[in-house]
């Protein structure tokens, strides 16, 4: 009986890992120039100065790695937040981390700081996310109920979005305004290995913080009093998880811009496969998010002819109707 569930979990992880691997490899072949299997392989194993090696190593590889990392972060953060707030409609955007990061990055673009250092954008993004989350705790209090967290998150999100809009409004040149607007739409075009090196450690720290709360999240599904009585320290758990989300999502958003709804869709699809247990949803949502964003980024490249369709636009086009569908299901009481 127990062995069967272990086998099922193992099969699920293997399946998702294979899917990520497959999409990752596929992604290496998608782009304006068609490369043969041999060319891609040679570029990866023995990089030289040939055009194909440059395309693979400096364009497609960082882009795909970032898609995998950003997707994993968003999927994991969504599953974490839904477990913490015990609400299937929760999403990293909701607690204000995404809009905080977006504001931080927009200010960098507004003041033209992005040209000074490649580090400016990601660092500002993480600071923005952390400030948003710090404000969340100030607003909602230390013993915040799920509702208080959501309402405070909505307030912070709206305020950060308003400030971002102000930055666009007041931008000195049309170019700066356009730059912010496009960046906000979310994209992984023209990212380098430097971006990967910049964001990966922060995401890793955030992942560990979130994954270490897995068991506690499962116990939390019994309610806060019962969870407390089983030895879960609720305050520590909240701080650890929300900090993890802020660090990881802040890093992700500052690299890719806003890519919405991944954290909503992925946990929802995978939840039945792990017996609806919030803690067991974390690991699979990490892989699932990875797969979804790589796939979406492949779709973006296949669909774009001339003008690039932004990644965030694609995920929102899929995600918003999905959100409505979830709302309807929730009203009918079938979640």
């Amino acid at each position: 009986m127990i062995r069967k569930t272990h086998q099922k979990t193992f099969t699920l992880y293997t399946g998702l890992a294979l899917l990520v691997g497959l999409l990752f490899i596929t992604s290496m072949f998608i782009g304006p120039s068609t490369l043969s299997i041999n060319a891609v392989w040679a570029a990866l194993v023995a990089p030289d100065q040939s055009p194909s090696a440059i395309i693979v190593n400096q364009i497609r590889l960082p882009r795909t790695i970032l898609a995998a990392l950003v997707g994993a972060t968003l999927g994991l953060a969504g599953a974490t937040l839904q477990g913490l707030l015990r609400n299937p409609l929760a999403e990293p955007g909701i607690i204000g981390a995404s809009s905080g990061a977006a504001l931080g990055a927009s200010l960098v673009l507004y003041f033209g700081l992005a040209e000074i250092s490649i580090l400016a954008l990601p660092i500002a993004g993480m600071i923005g996310a952390l400030i948003a989350v710090a404000m969340l705790f100030l607003l909602a209090g230390r013993n915040a109920s799920p509702l208080a967290l959501i309402l405070s998150g909505v307030a912070i999100s709206s305020f950060a979005s308003a400030l971002t809009a102000l930055a666009i409004n007041l931008a000195s040149s049309a170019y700066a305004a356009l730059e912010i607007t496009f960046w906000l739409m979310g994209s992984l075009t023209d990212r380098s290995m430097t971006h990967v090196a910049l964001a990966a450690p922060a995401m890793g720290v955030g992942w560990v913080l979130m994954l270490s709360g897995a068991r506690s999240l499962s116990i939390l599904s019994l309610g806060e009093d019962t969870a407390s009585s089983l030895g879960v320290s609720l305050n520590t758990l909240r701080v650890r998880l929300v900090l993890g989300i802020a660090i990881a999502v802040g890093a992700a958003v500052s690299i890719s811009g806003a890519i919405g709804f991944v954290g909503l869709i992925v946990p929802h699809i995978l939840r039945p496969f792990v017996g609806f247990e919030p803690g067991r949803l974390l690991g699979v949502s990490l892989l699932g998010g990875s797969a979804l964003v790589i796939a979406a980024d492949i779709a973006v490249r296949l669909l774009s002819t001339g003008i690039e369709i932004r990644l965030g636009v694609v995920t929102s086009l899929i995600g918003a109707p999905f959100f409505l569908f979830l709302l309807l299901k929730l009203r009918r009481g079938t979640i």
Binding site: I2, R86, S212, R215, S218, I219, S221, L222, G223, D225, T226, S228, S229, L230, G231, V232, S233, R271, G275, F276, E277, P278
Partner: protein, 269 residues
Amino acid sequence: MRHLVANNLYVRLGDRTLLNGISLDLKSGELVGLLGPNASGKTTLLRTLSNLIMPDRGTILLDEKSITKHTPHERARRLAYLEQGATTEWPISVERLVGLGRAPHMGVWGRPTAEDKAAVIHAMERCNVAHLSKRAANAISSGERARVMLARALVTGASILLADEPISNLDPYHQLRVMELIRKHADDCGAAITALHDLTLAARFCDRIILLLNGKIAASGAPKQILTAKNLARVFSIDASVLEQGGELHVLQHTTIEKVKARLGNGTP
């Protein structure tokens, strides 16, 4: 051995005093019934004893050590709290849900051991829910869920069980069954305090009754001394008679005090 000793507990919420100087102790092998009208402080007392509410004043000793000095896991291995009307937000299977009760025995990354799995099966069988093990815990009847939640509390292996109205949703058969389980838990290894509304069952199963009124202990002692018509009139505002038959107490709840007073009022114009 005294498992749990509470000394002079005060709990305030705003300008209301929920617990007003409560002292009690719980000895090994004892089953204590906590009785009192709605809003008399039963739940607040159980939550305070479980370290879920910090008292404004007073101390609690758990196994001869201040309850706040135990680590959360250490406390959870000694004391189990069964919430009133406990439920779950997600359709987790009964088996998994009961398994969550083993958390105090596992580390952050640990997996359930053979001992944990055996404890889960044993607890489900004791509470008569083994046949539900694959069902979603939020899609079963409230009576079934109450038993599942009791299994979740017992599986912790804690010697002290604090149960808040564990039988209020159950049919007569399962009311008896759950009371027998709690009684057996006290007899075997532990001790329990349970909030109840059924006066006759309280008299039958409990060693001691604590009557709570307005956050104070109105009376405490053996059922026969405490469950008297006078005490029931004072604490519950009911007119009741207490019969003893075959060594057991039976409480008959006749009418409310208001009705009695109205009748007396009519008699003397």
